[in-house]
């Protein structure tokens, strides 16, 4: 037995790896993915804990899911999150689409780099700085629209996330279809409406999905900008964590987690499809 093992080890040592391949890379990658997914697995696992304390396992149960679904505060927070994310998605995607059309199709013009910098500004500035700046701004002009303030802040930082996939799609699209439509006497508007928009749709859908996920997941900016009545789900989860750890938090988190994963998976499928479309 041990002879065979030695033999196998020796053979393995002798076998030359191709240039550029290194031993242990695969194992390292496995460890990497365990590190990346272990917390998520643990979180989901403990959401089925029947005990009152998260970390003391008290048997399997879905009681905490039922409890979370019946919790009025959670329901209200979910509604707020959905309202904010929907509004932010619609507005930021619309703004990003026309911005991307200009920047991808407008050729080179003065101010192009500046415009690009401005649109991607929310990506560069640390979130906490954005949060503080917007909080100061709303208080300085005395604007207090409750959820409206949160929606405006979300529209602002969602623009670059909606913008990126739309611009990428536009740059991969060739203009021959649009030229053909123009040659066949379509007006500028008709060309845009019946040729450009349908071709661009996968990019717009992908951008909207990213904006939605980013808005749903935002915590710091909402925490700072939102007042008493505008608690969104992540802000509510934060207050739950501070009050004490119960599996109810895990249950809520698990649901939110799977919503995000579902949307990102859909995004992945759409953007992959849009990639293969552009090739042809």
């Amino acid at each position: 037995m041990s002879d065979q093992m030695h033999q196998a080890a020796a053979n393995k040592g002798k076998k030359m790896l191709p240039v550029g391949h290194y031993r242990g890379l695969g194992a390292w990658t496995i460890v990497f993915f365990i590190f990346l997914y272990l917390p998520i697995v643990v979180l989901v696992f403990y959401s089925f804990n029947a005990n009152r304390m998260v970390m003391n396992w008290g048997g399997f149960g879905i009681d905490w899911y039922l409890k979370a679904f019946q919790n009025d505060d959670i329901q209200k927070a979910v509604w707020n999150s959905l309202i904010v994310a929907t509004a932010a998605t619609i507005f930021s995607t619309a703004i990003a689409t026309i911005g991307a059309l200009v920047l991808a199709r407008g050729g080179n013009f003065r101010g192009k780099t500046v415009s690009l910098g401005l649109i991607t500004l929310p990506l560069m500035v640390p979130e906490i700085v954005t949060a503080v700046a917007v909080l100061i701004f709303f208080s300085a002009i005395g604007m207090n629209w409750g959820l409206g303030n949160v929606i405006i802040a979300h529209i602002t930082f969602c623009i670059p996330f909606a913008f990126m996939p739309i611009r990428a799609r536009l740059e991969g699209m060739d203009t021959s279809m649009e030229q053909a439509a123009r040659d066949l006497y379509a007006s500028e508007w008709e060309t845009f409406r019946y040729v450009t928009v349908p071709l661009l749709m996968p990019g717009i859908v992908a951008g909207a999905m990213l904006a939605f996920v980013i808005s749903m997941d935002d915590f710091i900016i909402t925490l700072m900008v939102g007042g008493a009545g505008s608690t969104t789900l992540p802000v509510y989860i934060y207050s739950m964590i501070r009050r004490g750890l119960t599996p109810e938090i895990n249950a809520v988190c698990t649901v939110l987690l799977f919503v995000s994963i579902a949307i990102v998976t859909a995004y992945w499928v759409v953007s992959k499809k849009s990639q293969t479309d552009t090739v042809h």
Partner: protein, 301 residues
């Protein structure tokens, strides 16, 4: 139908960009300018500011008033700022060491499998940061996933006290931003011409030299981009220091939040934000310079 559109190309262009300029200009650029102004005002004890000019907020970063009303050096805030840089640097390094081999491994895979790996890397990134950090409390905490089996089998006798330490914050930060390291490195490795590796090997470079003298120099732009994408959000992090550091081991981000939520010293919070923002700007300028130099070198080569 399109009569209302401006006729000239320039007119259309600015009409298309106007909404972006309006929203980001008014609700991001202007607020940052106001924040800059607020940092030079005096605080109102109930939150907000008094319209009196003052450098007090910036002085407070370095000095405090002692009992005799004398300004004395106070290292408290400087230490927090220094710790923020230290932890961010540490987390960036961990991400690089952990993420680079993975990005490289993914590049070696056949194309359809590569896409799937990248999908797996991005998934956690798009899920809620708060939730992912909360999961680490369950893992590291007292009676958590790591401790319980060790205690039960008698390997350790008392709690490891892993929570509320710098180590816990570093793990949390590394975990939060790891995908941001892997993705740009992968993007630049993907373009790597593997025949160069063969060539190096034929010229008697050993495996180590192939890696350090060919692969790493060629994907340096990706490595730099990854380091920036991790370092910048780490510096302003709020969730990891708050949940895993227990709110006592502050970092710059949590210190800023504290000034607005509890301490009610808005100018000081604004001044700290300005400090954070300038650190980011300095890092970005270095990055832009490096990119420009590289472009110039490639142009002349």
């Amino acid at each position: 139908m399109s009569d209302w559109l401006p006729k000239s190309a320039a007119g259309k262009r600015w009409l298309g960009l106007a909404p972006s300029y309006f929203v980001i200009g008014i609700f991001m650029l202007v607020p940052m300018i106001i924040m800059g102004v607020f940092s030079f005002l005096e605080p109102n004890p109930y939150g907000g500011v008094k319209p009196v000019g003052s450098f007090a907020a910036y002085v407070k970063i370095f000095f405090e008033y002692d009992l005799e009303d004398q300004l004395v050096f106070n290292p408290g805030y400087i230490n927090i700022i220094f710790r923020s840089f230290q932890l961010s640097f540490g987390a960036t390094l961990l991400c690089l060491v952990f993420g680079f081999p993975v990005a490289y491994y993914i590049t070696l895979q056949p194309e359809n499998r590569r896409n799937f790996y990248i999908y797996l890397v991005t998934i956690p990134f798009w899920t809620n940061l708060l939730i992912r950090t909360f999961a680490w409390i369950i893992i590291l905490g007292r009676g958590g996933v790591i401790e319980t089996p060790l205690l039960a089998t008698g390997i350790i006798e008392k709690s490891l006290r892993m929570m509320y330490t710098d180590g816990a914050i570093a793990i949390g930060l590394t975990y939060s931003y790891l995908p941001l390291m892997v993705l740009p490195i992968y993007a630049s490795l993907e373009k790597l011409d593997f025949r160069l590796l063969e060539a190096a090997s034929d010229l008697y470079a050993n495996r180590f030299e192939v890696m350090t003298k060919v692969v790493i120099p060629l994907c340096k732009p990706g490595i730099i981009a990854g380091c920036l994408l991790v370092f910048i959000p780490c510096l302003g992090a709020f969730i990891a220091p708050n949940l895993l550091g227990g709110g006592k081991k502050l970092m710059l981000g949590s210190l800023v939040q504290f000034q607005f939520a509890s301490a009610r010293n808005w100018p000081f919070g604004a001044a700290l934000s300005m400090l954070l923002l300038s650190a980011v700007v300095i890092v970005l300028i270095f990055y832009a310079r490096a990119a420009k130099n590289r472009a110039a070198m490639e142009g002349s080569a």
